[in-house]
């Protein structure tokens, strides 16, 4: 056996520092998923339109993101893109953009599925009173699809939160990065990673619970 001794006080001492990281993690996730939601809805709706161009464009975006690892997307955004753009985003901006683009592609599929699930008769009824396809989507289909999207949306939210730990590679000071920094000073890998894990768990549980609450609140009676 090693001479390792578990020291709970380390966990308490490092907590304030790690909480800073957790706060940033939550921010990046919220911002990333907010824009991801906008991208996702735009792409998901485009996939549901009659226009072949809108469908194709959204399809390319979705395949591109879903077919490549997030890590590569992050590196490309932060290290690759600046070489042709001539300017580099700050790490935090690049991180938020990466999470937004990435979650957007998955949310797009969720949105497309939810729209497809709304009964076909709803679109027809809307068209029959003279609404255009876009108006029907906005006023009739979307409000119903959105309710069906809440559970999978929560799922994606949790996934994105965990994905933010990858942003450590471009130096975003989120929770995982804070863990590394603390360990570099106190060498207490066990206690620190345990605390980091517990903090992630609190965050994901918090998201799951709030989404479940939303789901109940917006439940649609058929």
């Amino acid at each position: 056996m090693t001479s390792f001794q578990f020291d709970a006080s380390v966990m308490l001492e490092t907590l304030p520092l790690l909480m800073e990281g957790a706060r940033l993690t939550l921010w990046v996730t919220l911002l990333g998923c907010f824009f991801g939601f906008l991208f996702g809805v735009a792409a998901g709706v485009s996939r549901s339109l009659d226009s072949p161009w809108a469908r194709r464009l959204a399809g390319i975006y979705i395949e591109l993101i879903r077919g490549t690892p997030l890590m590569v997307q992050v590196m490309f955004l932060y290290f690759g893109l600046p070489l042709i753009l001539g300017l580099r985003f700050p790490p935090l901006t690049a991180g938020v953009v990466a999470i937004a683009l990435n979650s957007g592609a998955y949310i797009a599929e969720v949105a497309r599925g939810a729209i497809a699930e709304v009964a076909k008769g709803q679109m027809e009824a809307a068209r029959c009173i003279g609404l255009t396809q876009a108006q029907a989507l906005r006023f009739v289909i979307w409000p119903q699809a959105f309710r069906a999207m809440i559970p999978p949306l929560g799922n994606q939210f949790v996934i994105s939160l965990k994905d933010t730990s990858l942003l450590v590679v471009i130096g975003v000071g989120e929770l995982t990065r804070s863990g590394q920094e603390v360990i570099a000073v106190n060498f207490r890998a066990f206690e620190v990673w345990l605390t980091v894990a517990l903090l992630y768990l609190c965050l994901t549980l918090g998201i799951s619970l709030s989404l479940r609450f939303l789901e109940k609140k917006y439940k649609l009676v058929q």
Binding site: C128, G130, L131, Q135, Q144
Partner: protein, 240 residues
């Protein structure tokens, strides 16, 4: 008012409408009957361009549906479906005001007044804040009729409006349709309610296998059915 000229429509190689020709004058009520799968719904859906026929032409109020601005012309023909298709996330009142508000740009207050008047007309004045799922099937279908009327259509198309209803709820829906007919609305009604057809229709059309096999003024149609398949069909529906 409606002119259908030799339209044909196929689904996956199967001819669902085969050279159908029909015309409807203002104020006429035509009932379409026929066995299931004979193309009745498809015929109605061609009238408001939910389906596009491959051959032939549909004219609605002097406009060719193949070249008309569909979004505009669709609301000229109100449609009532077997499954009601009310918007479940909106109150009854909002179901009625959506079209006038969005499509016609009617001010909200005016749209609400119109909606209340129509709900009164279909006997549901007290249900304006209810949601569709809180209503019986018969009430939902009456809301659906009022929703179509809110667009001030020139023609009303009914696709088996009472087929999804419990027998005791059919009467209230037919009563609303009867009243509409009496007020002079032009109507095409697909139904199996022969009593309604006899008492309300000016003309009855019998469809079978994508073709109009028989048609005529209501009295003559029922008293002297001309076609053997029609006699067979009538003996089946009239006996239960």
């Amino acid at each position: 008012m409606i002119q259908i000229k030799e339209i044909s429509k196929s689904f996956g190689g199967k001819k669902v409408l085969d050279q159908v020709t029909m015309r409807l004058d203002q104020g006429e009520v035509v009932v379409v009957i026929g066995p299931s799968g004979s193309g009745k719904s498809t015929l109605l859906r061609c009238i408001n361009a939910l389906e596009q026929p491959e051959e032939g032409e549909v004219w609605l109020c002097g406009q060719n549906m193949a070249t008309a601005d569909l979004n505009h012309i669709r609301s000229i023909a109100g449609m009532v479906f077997q499954q009601f298709n009310l918007f479940p996330h909106m109150s009854v009142l909002d179901n009625l005001t959506l079209g006038p508000k969005i499509v016609q740009g009617m001010p909200l207050k005016e749209a609400k007044d119109l909606a209340r008047a129509l709900l009164h007309k279909v006997g549901l004045a007290d249900q304006s804040s209810a949601f569709p799922h809180q209503l019986s099937g018969g009430q939902q279908q009456r809301v659906a009729i009022a929703r179509a009327l809110a667009m001030k259509p020139k023609v009303m198309l009914f696709d088996e409006p009472t087929s999804a209803l419990d027998p005791e709820l059919i009467g209230e829906v037919l009563a609303v349709m009867r009243q509409l007919a009496e007020e002079g609305m032009t109507m095409v009604v697909v139904t199996h309610e022969m009593g309604f057809a006899r008492s309300v229709a000016n003309r009855v059309v019998f469809m079978d296998q994508g073709k109009i096999k028989a048609q005529g003024p209501t009295e003559r149609f029922f008293n002297a059915p001309s076609h053997p398949r029609l006699q067979n069909f009538l003996s089946k529906v009239l006996n239960h």
